[in-house]
Symmetry: D2
């Protein structure tokens, strides 16, 4: 099942474009990483906020859908704590409050020195449909 | 000045990677567009939330820095209103409350039929430094 | 129906404690007001953020439930734009994106000079149950 | 110093109106409690979202100002996880990322059974002025 979930999410082309890889996945929890490359930098030479958000939202999507039920992001709040100038980022998503319809996730993004870079709170909505795993 | 601002922001490699272009820019306001391509899609075949956020954050950055003072995103809240299956997205950033240190922007993302796709509220922090325009 | 909705929401004791009154209500829209009194002030002598949030959340609740279907706040984002030192606040809630299950509201809080004091984005969840109007 | 901080914040009349008491305070951390009474209930008979937000914002204010430098809420994001029907709420505010100008706090609200009721992320702005302790 875990392999099928990873295979399914590796069809996310925007995550692949950004170079994001899944490290861990289980229902309610996921960890993804991104090696920082020039393509992630903004005009000021630091990692673009959109790249950080993309990692966080992807980690949420992997964790929230890992149980097989389709779950969409409804609303997300990101706080940027530190400019990134390192080599790698890791995003960890953890379900805080499981609900039948509404679910709440905490996502934290760290750099390779385990410094907290950003915090993201994502509210998801569970649909009735199942994930179309191959 | 406007050309220099556009030239500066076209050095944002993550925005360029995502295919985002600046349509309009003046201090406190910007409009950017993104032609939807397969690279923007997630595993479910709809535009990835990260691509939508990246547009919005970029539109904010362009508008908030257009006056020449460096302004960073501190916190952003995005609400996803509609799945995107169309051909183009436009993000428009507008300053709501100008402050010397803290600024608040409203960003709206529309599709080509002018349907509202996402709303983003971004709080920025103005640094003392000036933008390094070439 | 409008009278019954107002009567129902005037049973909200925390809103009554705060001195909030309903000015307008229809499905998807509401306006409430609060005359500023010493009881609303924080230790610094300005209107407490909680009083402003309470108005905004109440305006949302009135608007979102006015159609008769129970709707709960799931997540809310408030940006405080200006300290309040005036005499009256008005909060106006407007539905942005009606959905069967998830609904998104924009709420704006103004003072008596029509200056924008705070912006609030609230995501609500519609339950199946109906409001118990007397 | 701690007594002076508590004395100062007990001048917050809206917090006093809501019946909120300070349990713990030190720079970067605070805990407050509220015994649930009929005055906190909304029309549906559960604790009003505004009362929960007021506690959380107050806990933030106490913690963020406890070092003596005036700090204001700029933006706050609250996620409501559970309806409250118990007897007491406790809000705990913890600084996540100390900055000279911008600070980020995590606030969690629990009921008397230690169940998580709401999560709040608050971004504050530190002014240059000092708190006017008597």
């Amino acid at each position: 099942m875990k392999d099928k979930i990873i295979e399914y999410f590796m069809r996310d082309r925007f995550a692949v474009l950004a170079g994001i890889k899944i490290l861990e996945v289980e229902p309610g929890h996921a960890m993804v990483e991104m090696d920082i490359a020039p393509k992630h930098l903004n005009a000021a030479g630091i990692v673009q906020g959109g790249a950080i958000f993309t990692m966080a939202d992807f980690a949420f999507a992997v964790a929230a859908n890992a149980g097989g039920q389709v779950t969409l992001s409804v609303s997300a709040n990101i706080t940027f704590l530190k400019s990134v100038t390192g080599k790698k980022l890791i995003a960890e998503a953890q379900e805080v409050s499981p609900g039948k319809k509404i679910t709440d996730y905490n996502v934290e993004v760290f750099d390779e020195s385990h410094e907290l870079i950003a915090r993201i709170n994502i509210v998801g909505y569970r649909k009735r449909s199942k994930l179309e795993l191959s």
